[in-house]
Amino acid sequence: MSLEPQELDDLTSKIGRKPTSTELQIVAAEWSEHCSYKSSKKHLKMLPMKGRLVISEKGYDSGVLDVGDGYVITAHIESHNHPSAVEPYGGAATGVGGVIRDILSAGTRPIAIFDGLRFGDIEKDLQARWLFKNAVTGIADYGNCLGIPTIGGEVEFDECYSNYALVDVAAIGFGKKKNLIKNHAKKGNIVVLLGGSTGRDGIGGSQFASDSLESENRSAVQIPDPFIEKLIIEAILEARDQHLINAMKDLGGGGLSCAVSETADALSIGIEMDVDKVHTRESDMSPEEIMVSESQERMLIVTTDEKLKKLQIICKKFRIACSVIGHVTTNNMMHVKKGKKTCANLPTDVVANAKLLDRPSKKPAYLETIEQEKKLKPVSDYSKMMLKFLASPNIASKIWVYGQYDHEVGIRTVVKPGKDASVLRLDNGKFLSAKIDGNPKHCYINPREGAIGCFEEACRNVVCTGAKPIGMLDHLQFGNPENPEIFWTFLESLKGLTDFAKYFEIPCVGGKVSLYNETPSGPIKPTPLIGILGLIEKTPISSQIISPGDSLMIIGDTKDEMGGSEYFEYIHKFIGGKCPVVNFKESKSNMNIVLELVKNELLKAAHDCSKGGLAVAISELCMTHKIGCKVSLDKVPGPKLDVDRVLFSESHSRYLLVFEKKNLKKLEDILKKDKISYSVLGKFGGENILFSKSSKPIIDLRVDKAQKTWFNSLRELVVHG
């Protein structure tokens, strides 16, 4: 680990002397892109962070939202891309562990996990398959052991992730507002390190995350220990209930260096600590190694001498180690000693605040021509094509994944994975709905509109459960920011998200930036990921059986927006065209109308239309409810389009609604008053999914056959190749 020459000069001039070797390591960890956000921080400020429900506290790693009646939810998102690309099992598992500790830091109990997974083409690429399989097992083994349900996520395959992996994890916490840890510290308080022992694993991890992936520096392997993490959670919550915690921070990237400097900086205090007091796994670790080790499952706590005894009793009960490693001072210095010897003594604001950069940006050259379409080979048999499409890894059901995750533990999961967003019941009678979404294929073609599309898609998913979006998490994943073209795509995505967040008044409650996502064959496609939290005041849309005779309606226009569609890319192997664009006004009225219809209990089911377009979304409804449907494509609202475009365009702001025929009039009254573009497309019943145009059948599939293919193909591919 090392600093850039100008950073070294900067550090030297700020402290007025040559830094010691320990100081160099500490600063290198903290000033890495991963910990300091030096490329992005200036720009992230544009996102709206405040809102009616947002509670901000100093030193929190997670966002906090007030959900009423004295309760709060917390949320955070993280990625563990580099580690997962070399050790998918451990990398993905420790990713879960890390984000859970962020939730815990605020003093809330983690109640849900989400995972977003991206790999290369698993149909052709054995390495991608191996990464995928092991990352899923890693997440399952960790989350399941903790007893925190993994209730949703997404999985996507794209050649741009070959030999690489994006593993994103988000977590949600829940608790009483009065139990939130109000981080504070004063002179004489003591600093305690609690949890697993500090070892050599993960040394240099944050630096590693900020380099592009090359085999020489594949050194940061972390071994997950979910059992210890579970004990830490219970111990911390017990300590919280006994008011033993003055301030708390989890140890993540940059290890003790970051946790100590950031805690001191956030609370305007100094911390003096002794590396000899840290419980280590190996006896011969140097002060540098102890300070930057990224061993998992550790928490830093500021408490008082009087409270320490009780804290130690709790730790003993849960058989976890806890060491007093230092105390709070008032001189705003981070003073690291080894016994009597000083190894580092630095102003905390210098350590915690790297010099922010203003990186140059430039519109990528490829974008000049990307929207041009080429002539595609016509599809001769749409039924056959559709079956193949339903079996394709990006479209196929993800049950092989979420079926390995305990998504019921905690008995809050009212709407379970497999539909749009999942829904949890809260202790105050309300419900929380959440989903994460990304779409690198759209973002590659148009980083701004693509990012907005992810935002809207995540909103649509929670809206389909009857929830109003109340907060957003963003995770911005790009290649090397030193490349102006890549940095431009980062800025465009960020601006798009900001515009949408402001228009919809959805505050950003947390986020993460992950840069340098590159392999020897190049950067990944821009991959912003959006998590949406939605609140349901009364009842979520209940799981109802769709019966023969029920009607299917679509809301929103289907437009000629095929760029980045699964149809272009999977069926025609073509990357290009215009990607879908969200019309903010239309988007808002459609969202509001669906919420109103759910609230008036006029719907049996609502489903959003996204990847794979109308054809896939309607099939999903049929397959999950095991019922056929007759759909007339002539009635699809929007401009006149060729049949394949109507079927597979991925235009946003569209919802499929299922309702009892007798409610049509009531529905129309509401829809008309808001000038919503809608149409009744068809009727459920029978054993076939049937799409027709001008009375001519276009797609005709048996539901059971389609369902079997869609349900099993991912597992077949992963397990049996």
Binding site: V86, E87, Y89, G90, W130, N134, G199, R200, D201, R218, V221, I223, P224, D225, F227, I228, R281, E282, R319
Partner: protein
């Protein structure tokens, strides 16, 4: 061609922690008062039955299979391969 039993032992590399071994040691064996034991390390074993011309080629083939099919991840684990007459 002769049949051989090939034992493949997969374990975490030295220096990489083994939480399972530690739990078995501390929460089971030491609590059971068996203080003569100072360490427990867990490993996974695969026993292959294979037809090859000699011991040496049996070992080479199995090593190749393990590497090629990613039966273990060389980043975290090491393998030891022993060949026995069946």
């Amino acid at each position: 061609m002769t049949t051989f039993d090939v034992h493949v032992i997969i374990e975490n590399k030295p220096g990489i922690s083994d939480p399972e071994g530690e739990t078995i040691l501390h929460d089971l064996v030491l609590k059971g008062n068996h203080s003569a034991v100072s360490k427990i390390k867990t490993a996974k074993m695969l026993k292959f039955t294979i037809k090859e011309k000699d011991k040496k080629s049996a070992k080479i083939t199995v090593q190749k299979i393990c590497d090629e099919l990613r039966i273990y991840n060389p980043m975290v684990s090491k393998v030891t391969i022993d060949v026995f007459d069946a």
